[in-house]
Amino acid sequence: MKQAKLILLLLLVACFSLATWLQPLHNSRILRTETSGNVLALLLGDARKMFAQQMFAKADAYFHRGNYPSIFDLTQHHEENHMAGESHHAAGEADHDDDDHDDALPPAHDWIERFGRHFYPTIHLHLKDGEEREMLPWLRVAVALDPHSIETYAVTAYWLRERLNKVDEAEEVLRAGLHANPDSPELYYELGRLFYENRKDSVRTRNLWVFALRRWHEVEDTKTVPQRVLLAELLGGLARIERQDGHKAAAIDYLKQLQAISPSPEQIQKQIDQLSATQTPSL
Amino acid sequence: MQTILETKKLRVEYRSRELKQETKVALKGLSLRVNAGEVFGFLGPNGAGKTTTMNVLLGYVNASAGEAFLFDVNVREPIARQRIGYLPELTYYYKFLTAEELLRFYAKIFGIPKGETEKRIDQLLKLVELDHARKRPIRTYSKGMQQRAGIAQALINNPDLLLLDEPTSGLDPLGRMKVREIIQRLKNEGKTVFFSSHELGEVETICDRVAILNQGELKIEGPVNELVNQYQCNLEQLFLKVVGYQPQV
């Protein structure tokens, strides 16, 4: 009897110890769950980033109407993501057209490859005239799988507002991106683009880009190799807005900052000179 | 008299991993003859070679030496089985088919025309008393019903030779009676019946001739009444004598 009681006591102690060890682990898991916020993150764990990349590539494949290199081809020739590339350009400036591509595939190795080419898409074409909507499900899933992929939000918002005329939905995407990534200057920049290019609201655009610029300095200034492309876009955009609103001094100031990092400073200097020449003389 | 079934010095050897690749001789030069219109009983203890003989006749197994013929056609030709019906010991039929579908399937294999097929199906299902269950899948049948379905499929092509492997095994007395009646009816129609059985009383009653096999060899063959008279004992005692049974007491 005494032995049984002793064993019970020992078991009780063991259970209590296990519980005290497991409880913090469980709490931190809940925290991580709340952070990731969706079923996919729970199910897939860190592999979701890999899946998110696959979904993003899938959207690009859809952009090319199914004509997409396999991983075996990709390791041979690095292929750019055209769908993402277009989103970096200003409104109306396409990265390239279908016609810009050399449609000829490399010669087939053998009769099997030659024959097989009749059963899948081999012509380089892009979606257009509203067909770009077909990419949306994959972009949506990519965003859900990896809420911290800034590019996905930016690309999704671009296609929604620029080609599909879904400005509200684009804004929703960017705000969701900012909710998951509040430190991201890129998303503030993209939101500013939305207000500038689609809502024609230069006041809000300016506010967003100024804020983005501030965030950029906070994030990038500490880095040994700061990401300058976004900085250039922000400075160029702000200069453009200030010039449009007649704030030439502010515009020149931004242009001078841009000149410091531009690979073509003489082009920027020309713009500064033009602006200076039209500036009203001080009394 | 026409010879319906004939084996000439049939020899069957098996080699298997279970036997450690040693050769087991299942049949040692079996020569047998069954004439038209006979009811022939094929007897022997377990492992005597009865099933092997059946397997050779049905084309499941090739003989290592010797030959076997059905209606003067070598058993290796599928056409040799055109005029035979086979009833296996256990019910090996597609459980998801109904009795009707099963008979129709086998009739198609025999090449029986559609109209004739439907007529025969009706007749046979009535004969084996499965008319009420013809549309039910065979998996819902009792053992007795499955056995009766087996009899029906064995008769679908109106065979001239019926090969029965333990036809009354597992049947109740009523079922056995029905099988005996069917065999008698076939005999009256001039058909030949070749069956293996352990029910020696039954064999003695219905068979014209018997053969007793032991350890792959044919020990004795002849008309039942002649053998019984010759050895002055019944078939069971003759069987025990032939297989070399020594009573312990």
Partner: protein, 258 residues
């Protein structure tokens, strides 16, 4: 031929009396309908992702149906001993084998039509068109591919000891062929000898099932394939199917029945 068709008929009856097909079809319908009801960014016109999901489910289901139905045939006949009363009839083993193949293939063809009719209805509800020629080509080529897979599985059923083994191996091989067979020669280029040669030989020997996969063309609304290439692919399928069937018949002829 009547005997072969008789055996085929039994196989078809077996398929539609088992639950496999219905379960997979209902699953496909449910998942597709869930996708169909989903709205991405308030856009009702999105259809290609729906097509892709539906086609992927169809391909998966048909592979499972084809391989599991076929893998069961001969082992089931031997296990349940229904092969004995069958071969006691005037029918050869080769006829049984061809009948089994035909039955599985026709059964898969019927299942394929049901799946693709559903697919056509779903996509037509969004696209408001029905590219009939492309869909017919897709069904035909898919069916040809299943012929090769069924013949391969039948071959496996006389080579492997259990249906489970056969199903697993055939599924892995078929999936492998679908995903990577067309790229083997590219991989071989980057390898050293003798691996490069072995891989190249495999590349030329395996049946290239990607010839029959027109999913991308259907999903992205590409025009129909020229009929001469469809004919060429059909001939290719017939050759491989015949090869596997012949090999199966040769092995089955010598196999013990129990």
């Amino acid at each position: 031929m009547n005997k072969i068709f008789a055996v085929a008929g039994v196989v078809i009856k077996e398929l539609y009396r088992r639950k496999d097909f219905y379960v997979l079809f209902i699953l496909t319908v449910l998942i597709t309908l869930v996708m169909w009801s989903a709205r991405f960014f308030n856009d009702d016109g999105i259809v290609r992702a729906l097509k892709e999901i539906c086609l992927m489910l169809i391909w998966l289901s048909m592979l499972v149906i084809a391989i599991t139905t076929t893998a069961r045939q001969i082992p089931f006949e031997r296990e349940s001993r229904t092969i004995f009363p069958l071969l006691a009839k005037p029918i050869t083993r080769a006829q049984v084998m061809v009948g089994k193949f035909l039955g599985c293939w026709l059964a898969c063809g019927i299942a394929l039509i049901v799946f693709y009719v559903f697919f056509g209805l779903i996509t037509a509800s969004r696209e408001h068109t029905l590219p009939l020629v492309q869909y017919l080509q897709a069904i035909w080529l898919h069916w040809q591919m299943l012929g090769i897979v069924i013949a391969m599985t039948l071959f496996g059923s006389v080579v492997f000891t259990s249906p489970a083994e056969n199903i697993t191996i055939t599924l892995i091989i078929t999936t492998g062929i679908l995903f990577i067979a067309e790229h083997l020669h590219k991989v071989a280029e980057r390898m050293t000898e003798p691996s490069a040669t072995i891989l190249t030989v495999i590349y030329f020997l395996v049946p290239h099932l990607e010839f029959f996969d027109t999913q991308k063309l259907i999903i992205h609304d590409w025009p129909a394939i020229e009929w001469r290439f469809v004919g060429g692919a059909s001939l290719y399928a017939a050759i491989y199917t015949a090869f596997f069937l012949l090999a199966t018949c040769v092995i089955f002829r010598r196999k013990a029945l129990n």
